[in-house]
Amino acid sequence: MKILQIESLTQRFGELAAVDNLSFEMEEGEILGIAGPNGAGKSTLFNSITGFYKYTGDIYFNNEKISRLRPHQICHKGIARTFQIPHLFLTLPIHENLRVGAHFGVRSHGAEEEEANMNDVMSLLGLQGKEDIITANLNLFDKKLTMLAAAMATKPKLLLVDEPTAGLSPTETRDLVALFKKINKELGLTIIIIEHLMKVLTELSQRMMIMVNGRKIAIGPPAEITKDEKVIEIYLGRGKHA
């Protein structure tokens, strides 16, 4: 089932087209990796999908047009996201951060469901026992986990993850990758992940999309993409691993 359809998405800042006539589709349960040089429009794409930016073109989620909706409405439709730089409610403890997602991101639920949801997410992400720590005092990895946990507490069908491994150690990166695999398999969550680390993308994604200057220059399975001449020319370079 085509869970997401992007049609001719164009997002302009003044004269500059940050995203230029982009179209692609995704199947439910798929993991799509997006890579590209800085300024390629990847984060702008996320901001457009989630309603933070206005754009021309259309986006369909579960065959429903979500193009003109505001961010909170898009969350209610089932799309959640994380941010490149950890955005958190720094004055609140972890469980209150999650509660915002669990309470406001999920329509019509009871208090018990909410607690159960939060506990499930916390144990899935390994945050048990840390609920009462004020998020301002967390290390980077835990901050990112909290941001992810809050997003997941909204019970999304599609998760957009923006450069999750930035600033993490190799061990933390490995743990995070395993986590995404688990979420995708166990919950059937469709994921789009923006990343710079090719290793992470090739391991996680079923398909990859390379963006340059707001345009899609290639899309396909990692094996193909990494061998694509255009991609190598513009993005990957001809080093040992290309």
Partner: protein, 344 residues
């Protein structure tokens, strides 16, 4: 005896209102002090709701004195020109103010920080010329003279009088108690969580399903409602109303109450109202230097103790200092024996 599970905030709240509730008994109807206490009750409402907007929701608002005045005029005009009982015009005044609060929030929804401050301050600045204008006089504001004979409250045959401060005090007390209690409940509810979320990180909050427009509208509406009611009561209490209330004095005083009390830390504004009002009276002896000292105190408090009184009472983290005191008190009254491992 089952111990009451009260949070630190609730404890302070009940102690203060408890004391205020019985204070009049010891004051022998001393007019001056009773009036001060009544004003403290009103200031507590305004400052608390202002703090709800600024400290909790992070909205830079300078329109709250305007809300106070709008409520006062609305209630006064309705009572004077339509003869409606003040018991009704006070809540109606609050409702009218709430409506205006929601209206003024509309241009602020997409704006941040200093811009919102500017728009809400514009409300304050426009109010005086409006009240004095022909249009204002047409709806009964009394122009530059203002309202000169606002009817007082009355129950049954008894009409409240400015010579009998105690009934006035208890009505203000009731208003303040209810208003602050409601604020307390709001803060501890999911609404309160939504305010803090939008304050701490609006994008994150939106991505988690919060409608930031609705949150802001609600905060404006709620704060304007209670502030307007406090203003309405004030009008009937004092009996006359003019645009002098819109002067800077009240504005600055209320801001100071929030800072001294501790912003975003209920019931800081209540404590701030008490402390600042008494300090203001106490400093009258300093004559022209009163406000100079006040200003210096404000800067000192902001720079040296930015969490205000509540920060000082609660100590770092979630109320450790007060917790230690409470454990000590419980043990002192024999309700609890110390356990191994306790350190106090």
């Amino acid at each position: 005896m089952k111990a009451l599970k009260l949070s630190n905030e609730q404890l302070i709240f009940y102690i203060v209102f408890g004391v205020f509730g019985i204070l009049p008994i010891f004051l022998n109807g001393n007019l001056a002090i009773m009036n001060i206490l009544t004003m403290i009750m009103l200031y507590a409402v305004v400052a608390t709701n202002w703090d709800l907007m600024m400290g909790y929701a992070g909205i830079f608002t300078f329109g709250n004195v305007a809300f106070f005045v709008i409520g006062a005029y609305a209630s006064g005009i309705l009572a004077m020109s339509l003869g409606i009982s003040p018991w009704l015009t006070i809540p109606i005044g609050g409702a009218i103010t709430a409506g205006i609060g929601v209206l003024i929030s509309l241009p602020c929804l997409r704006l941040k920080g200093a811009y919102v401050a500017l728009i809400t301050f514009a409300l304050h600045m426009i109010l005086e010329p409006f009240l004095k204008s022909d249009m204002g006089r047409a709806i009964g504001t009394g122009g530059a003279q203002g309202l000169l004979s606002i009817p007082p409250l009355s129950i049954g045959g008894y009409t409240f009088s400015s010579l009998q401060p105690v009934p006035w005090f208890y009505v203000a007390f009731g208003l303040s108690l209810v208003s602050l209690y409601v604020t307390h409940r709001i803060i501890n509810s999911s609404w309160g969580l939504s305010f803090v979320a939008v304050r701490d990180s609006e994008p994150f909050a939106k991505s988690l399903g919060l409608d930031d427009f609705r949150v802001k509208l609600m905060v404006f509406g709620i704060a304007a409602f209670f502030t307007g009611m406090a203003g309405a009561f004030y009008g009937h209490f004092v009996g006359i109303l003019s645009t002098r209330v819109l002067g800077l004095d009240l504005f600055l005083l209320l801001m100071v109450m929030q800072v001294v009390g501790g912003m975003g830390k209920f019931p800081g504004a209540l404590l701030g109202a008490i402390i600042v009002t008494f300090a203001n009276e106490g400093l009258r002896a300093a004559g022209v230097y009163r406000l100079v000292i006040f200003g210096a105190i404000v800067v000192a408090v902001v720079v040296l103790a930015p969490d205000g009184i509540m920060g000082a009472i609660l100590g770092g983290g979630k109320g450790r200092r007060l917790d230690r005191f409470r454990r000590f008190a419980r043990r002192a009254f024999g309700k609890e024996t110390s356990e191994a491992g306790d350190s106090v």
